[in-house]
């Protein structure tokens, strides 16, 4: 089939995505919160992604559905790389999930290394709140929060190594109607073996920079990167490291930060 394009907005950047037409409908569906209006599709974009079509199934190989699942997962990774590349040197980008209060826009940013709970926290607390991202949040120099409400990459039992790109709407997530603002930043540290309630560890500003730096993208390309990171931490009322076992344990933290007012 011939290639087809759509445009997504990610971290405030417009990314044109070209996929095989056979993948178009599903790709648009799972990217629904990032989709730009088709009427503006011809306008200039900040980055392009050309995604190869799924490889046809061979005898004894992966099923067509598995290939499509893998292809959509690769597409997400490509779009993320393109958006981050387009925003490098312009935005402070934290590997973090982010949710906001749907009425006030108070936003909790929860930074964590890949595979340690961002998506689970997002899908646990996202319904009824404003979904901003489960992957990367962008902050401008004036600390405007830029969303990346991508599909959530969810592992299911049927494919041990693949993640399914899941439309946010399928999980009850939606974009906020209000403008998000930075109300709190936490660093997640999941330890499934620990018991008891969530433990909050306040850290000083400089230790916060040491802790958060590994969870940033292209930090060194910013002008005065450490000042911007410090400004973000201070605006958020400091950094807290949150030790927890399971996502629901975080409920008090989510409620407290999203309840903050400016």
């Amino acid at each position: 089939m011939s290639p087809a394009s759509f445009v997504v907005r990610a971290l405030g950047r417009r990314v044109r995505v070209t996929v095989d037409a056979s993948l178009l409908e599903e790709a648009r569906r799972v990217w629904h919160l990032c989709l730009e209006d088709d009427a503006a599709a011809g306008s200039p974009v900040d980055a392009e992604v050309h995604h190869d079509p799924p490889v046809p199934t061979v005898e004894g190989g992966a099923s067509a559905q598995t290939l499509r699942t893998a292809s959509l997962q690769e597409l997400t990774q490509s779009i993320t790389r393109a958006a981050i590349g387009a925003a490098a040197g312009q935005l402070l980008m934290l590997h973090a999930g982010a949710l906001c209060d749907p009425r006030t826009g108070a936003t909790l940013v929860y930074a964590a290394p890949g595979g340690t709970g961002k998506t689970t926290v997002t899908s646990t607390f996202g319904p009824g709140r404003g979904y901003l991202t489960d992957e990367t949040v962008g902050l401008t120099r004036d600390l405007t929060v830029l969303a990346y409400p991508k599909p959530l990459s969810v592992r299911r039992g049927d494919t041990a190594f693949l993640k399914h790109e899941t439309a946010p709407g399928d999980l009850g997530l939606s974009s906020p109607a209000v403008r998000p603002w930075l109300a709190g930043i936490v660093a997640l540290r999941r330890d499934g073996s620990r018991g008891g309630p969530v433990e909050l560890e306040e850290v000083g500003l400089l230790d916060a920079l040491v802790l958060l730096a590994p969870e940033t993208s292209s930090l060194a390309r910013l002008d005065e990167p450490l000042r911007l990171l410090a400004d973000a931490v201070e605006a958020a009322g400091g950094l807290r490291v949150v030790h927890f076992a399971d996502a629901p344990d975080l409920e008090p933290v989510v409620t407290e930060v999203l309840g903050r007012t400016r």
Partner: protein, 111 residues
């Protein structure tokens, strides 16, 4: 033994940015892959400032530190300096190399 001698030449590492507050100093150091923010001691801040002007031998760095802080009471200044410089090299703040052109100035912010 630190591995550095009096004539070892040290120079600034790939330090991209430095931030100093009333809590201390941190530096953003580029790595082969990615970057890292590291704590910088008071003495380390002096060394970074010194090496901003260009590479220096361990003996030259030691002489400057003695000027500023006096000689350490119970160790040789060059040995003590060499040890501190080795610690700084582990975090990428400095490296020991042959003499070369001066490093570009560090972007630095005080809050």
């Amino acid at each position: 033994m630190s591995g550095y001698g009096a004539t070892t030449v040290v120079r600034l590492g790939p330090v991209v940015d430095v931030l100093t507050t009333d809590q201390g100093t941190v530096a953003l150091v580029e790595r082969e892959v990615g970057h890292q923010v590291v704590r910088v001691s008071d003495l380390g801040s002096v060394v970074l400032g010194l090496l901003e002007a260009g590479p220096a031998t361990v003996a030259q760095v030691a002489a400057r530190l003695v000027e500023l802080y006096g000689a350490p009471p119970d160790s040789d200044p060059v040995e003590a300096t060499a040890k501190a410089l080795v610690d700084m090299s582990r975090t990428g703040l400095i490296s020991a190399e042959k003499p070369g052109p001066p490093a570009p100035p560090i972007r630095s912010t005080c809050r």
